[in-house]
C-alpha cells in the first residue's frame, strides 16, 4: 500500500498520515539546531581558528614563517614524498582493480581484504614496522649500515611509511567502480582488434578517469598530511627530514605558535582544496552515471 491510495483529490495525504511521515516542526527545528551546533563546534570553529591563529602576529610574521629556509625545505620534502607515493599507489590501484574487477580467481576476497589492511593499522605502528626492518637494530640494519644506505631517519623511510599509509586509497575507489561498469566495452575493443594498451588508453582509462582522480585527490591529501607514521621514521632532523606536519609540530613545541599555525594554514588550505575537488568530482560522477 502506498500513500497514493489515501490521497484526496488534491493529492494531499490525510493529516494523520502526513503527521506520521513528517517530524513535528519543533522536533525539526531542534534537530537542525543540534546538528548545526555540533558541526559548528567541531568543524567550523577549528578551521576558522587555524587561520585566525596563523595571522595573529600579522602578515609579516606569517610570510616569514612560510618562506624561511627550513619551512621551504619542509614544503619541498612534502612535495617529493607525495610525488613518489601518489603515482606508485595510483598505478597499483589501477592494476589491482583490473585484476580484481575483470577476472575470477581463487583467493580474490582475501586479496581485497589484504588491500584494505593498512587502514586498520595505527599510523605509529605503520612507522614502527619500517624501523623494525631498516632501523639500526632492524632486520636489514647491519647490512644497510655496512653499505652506507640510510632509510630510517632519512627521506626513503618517510616515503615508505607514507606509501604504506596511503596504499589502499585508489584501489578501493576503483574496484567497486570497475565492477559496476562491467567489461563489455573492453571486450568489444579487443574483439575489434585493439591491442591491450590501446584498449586501456581508449576505453578503460576514459571510463575510470573520474574515479581515479577521486582516489588520487584523497591519496594526495593523506600523503601530504600524514603525521604519525612519518614522525616515527623521520628522526626530526631539522632542514633535512621534516615534512610540513613535522615542521608544524616542532614550531608548536617551541612555543612559536603563530609560525606553527602559519605552516598549519598551508595544510588547512590543502584540506579545503581537497574537499572542494572531492565534492566537484562526486557531482560529476553522479551526473555521468545518470547520463
Amino acid at each position: 500500500m502506498t500513500i497514493a491510495a489515501l490521497e484526496d483529490s488534491q493529492g494531499n495525504a490525510p493529516p494523520s498520515v502526513r503527521a506520521a511521515l513528517e517530524d513535528p516542526p519543533l522536533v525539526r527545528a531542534a534537530l537542525i539546531v543540534l546538528a548545526l551546533g555540533f558541526a559548528a563546534l567541531f568543524l567550523l570553529l577549528p578551521l576558522v581558528a587555524v587561520f585566525v591563529e596563523a595571522f595573529s602576529a600579522g602578515l609579516g610574521v606569517y610570510w616569514k614563517a612560510i618562506s624561511e629556509p627550513v619551512a621551504l625545505q619542509a614544503i619541498k620534502l612534502t612535495l617529493i614524498v607525495a610525488s613518489i607515493s601518489v603515482p606508485a599507489n595510483a598505478v597499483f590501484g589501477v592494476a589491482a582493480a583490473w585484476a580484481i574487477a575483470r577476472f575470477e580467481f581463487p583467493g580474490k576476497n582475501l586479496l581485497v581484504t589484504l588491500i584494505d589492511l593498512p587502514f586498520a593499522v595505527s599510523p605509529v605502528i605503520s612507522g614502527l614496522i619500517f624501523v623494525l626492518l631498516f632501523g639500526a637494530q632492524g632486520v636489514f640494519g647491519p647490512w644497510l649500515i655496512e653499505h652506507g644506505v640510510k632509510i630510517i631517519f632519512a627521506a626513503p623511510g618517510i616515503v615508505l611509511a607514507t606509501m604504506f599509509i596511503t596504499f589502499p586509497f585508489v584501489a578501493r575507489e576503483l574496484i567497486p567502480l570497475m565492477q559496476e561498469q562491467g567489461s563489455e566495452e573492453e571486450e568489444a575493443a579487443i574483439s575489434l582488434g585493439a591491442s591491450g594498451w590501446q584498449m586501456f588508453r581508449r576505453v578503460t582509462l576514459p571510463n575510470i578517469r573520474l574515479g581515479l582522480l577521486y582516489g588520487v585527490v584523497l591519496l594526495n591529501a593523506r600523503a601530504m598530511g600524514e603525521f604519525g607514521a612519518v614522525s616515527v621514521v623521520s628522526g626530526h632532523i631539522r632542514g633535512l627530514t621534516n615534512t610540513i606536519p613535522l615542521h608544524v609540530e616542532i614550531l608548536y613545541n617551541e612555543y612559536q605558535s603563530a609560525a606553527a599555525f602559519a605552516a598549519a594554514s598551508l595544510l588547512a588550505l590543502l584540506a579545503l582544496v581537497t574537499l572542494v575537488a572531492k565534492r566537484a568530482l562526486e557531482w560529476r560522477i553522479r551526473r555521468e552515471t545518470r547520463a
Binding site: T2, L43, A49, E53, E104, L111, P123, V131, F164, G228
Partner: protein, 280 residues
C-alpha cells in the same frame, strides 16, 4: 593456477602479479616483521611489557576515550545524517561537504588547533574554565580530539542507508496508524542500526590508533593521559624495541579483530537491505 573464465581481456597475469608483488613488499612483509619480532620475545618479557601498569593505564585511556568518542559520534552523527538527508535548509550542501573535514585536515593541524581552542585562554577553554571543566591535558581532551577524528564515519555510513530507505515502508506504517515516534522505532531504526553500529565501530577503530590529533592535547603524562600509540613511540625513542613491538602487537590484533567484526556487520547490513528490496 587461476581460472580466467574464458576472458578475452588481456593483462591478467601482469596486473595480478604486480599487485601481489607490490602488496607483499610494501604491506605484508613489513607487517610480518612485527609478528616475527614479537615471536622472538620470551613469554615473560612479552607479558611484562604488555601488562606493565603504564601499559594498562594507556589501554584504559585509549579504549575508554575511543568508546566515549564513538558513543558521542553515534548520537550526533545520526542526528547530522538525518538532518542532512531529510530536511532542506540553506547551507545544507556546505555542511554536508564539511563533514569530511576531519578526513582531509592533517591530524597534527587538528591537534594543535583543538589544544589552542581548549587551553585555559583559548576560545573554548575560557568558557569552560569558570565552569570548572578542564579539557586540555586531560582525558576529556583526548576524547574530544577522538570525537573530531571519528565524526565523518557515522554520518557517511548512515547517510546512504537513509537515502535508500524505501519511503513505502514508512508510508505504510503511517497509514496503518503508527505515530511518528512509533514509525521511527518500528520501521526506521531496525533498518538503520547495522549502519549505525558499523559507523560507530569504524570511528572506534580509527580512534584506537589515532596519534597526531591526540598527542598535543593529551599532555602525555604517563599513567594519566598517555595513549597507547604515544607509549609505543616513547618506548621506541628509548630504544626499547621489544617493549614497543609487544604493545604494538596487542594493538594490531585488537584492530584486526575489530575489522573482522565490522566486515561481518556490514554483511548483515547488506543482507538486510537486499532482503527489503526483494520483499513484494
Amino acid at each position: 593456477m587461476a581460472r580466467r573464465q574464458n576472458s578475452v581481456l588481456p593483462g591478467f597475469g601482469l596486473t595480478l602479479g604486480f599487485s601481489i608483488l607490490y602488496l607483499s613488499l610494501l604491506v605484508l612483509i613489513p607487517l610480518s616483521a612485527l609478528f616475527f619480532r614479537t615471536a622472538s620475545l620470551s613469554l615473560a618479557d612479552f607479558l611484562a611489557a604488555v601488562l606493565s601498569p603504564r601499559a594498562l593505564a594507556a589501554y584504559k585511556l585509549t579504549f575508554g576515550a575511543s568508546l566515549a568518542a564513538a558513543a558521542v559520534n553515534a548520537v550526533f552523527g545520526l542526528i547530522l545524517a538525518w538532518v542532512l538527508t531529510r530536511y532542506r535548509f540553506p547551507g545544507r550542501d556546505l555542511v554536508d561537504a564539511f563533514v569530511d573535514l576531519p578526513f582531509a585536515l592533517p591530524t597534527a593541524v587538528a591537534g594543535i588547533t583543538l589544544t589552542t581552542l581548549l587551553a585555559k585562554n583559548g576560545w573554548l577553554g575560557r568558557i569552560l574554565e569558570p565552569l570548572g571543566i578542564q579539557a586540555a591535558y586531560t582525558p576529556l581532551g583526548v576524547a574530544i580530539a577522538l570525537t573530531f577524528i571519528g565524526l565523518p564515519f557515522v554520518v557517511r555510513t548512515v547517510q546512504p542507508v537513509l537515502q535508500d530507505l524505501e519511503a513505502e515502508a514508512e508510508e505504510a506504517a503511517a497509514s496503518l496508524g503508527a505515530g511518528r515516534l512509533q514509525t521511527f522505532y518500528r520501521v526506521l531504526f531496525p533498518a538503520l542500526w547495522p549502519a549505525l553500529v558499523t559507523g560507530s565501530a569504524l570511528a572506534f577503530a580509527r580512534a584506537l590508533g589515532e596519534y597526531g590529533s591526540v598527542v598535543f592535547i593529551s599532555g602525555n603524562m604517563p599513567l594519566r593521559t598517555e595513549i597507547v600509540p604515544l607509549l609505543i613511540v616513547t618506548k621506541l625513542e628509548q630504544y626499547d624495541y621489544a617493549g614497543a613491538t609487544a604493545i604494538a602487537t596487542v594493538m594490531l590484533v585488537s584492530s584486526f579483530s575489530l575489522l573482522l567484526a565490522i566486515n561481518a556487520l556490514q554483511a548483515i547490513g547488506r543482507r538486510r537491505l537486499a532482503g527489503e528490496g526483494a520483499a513484494p
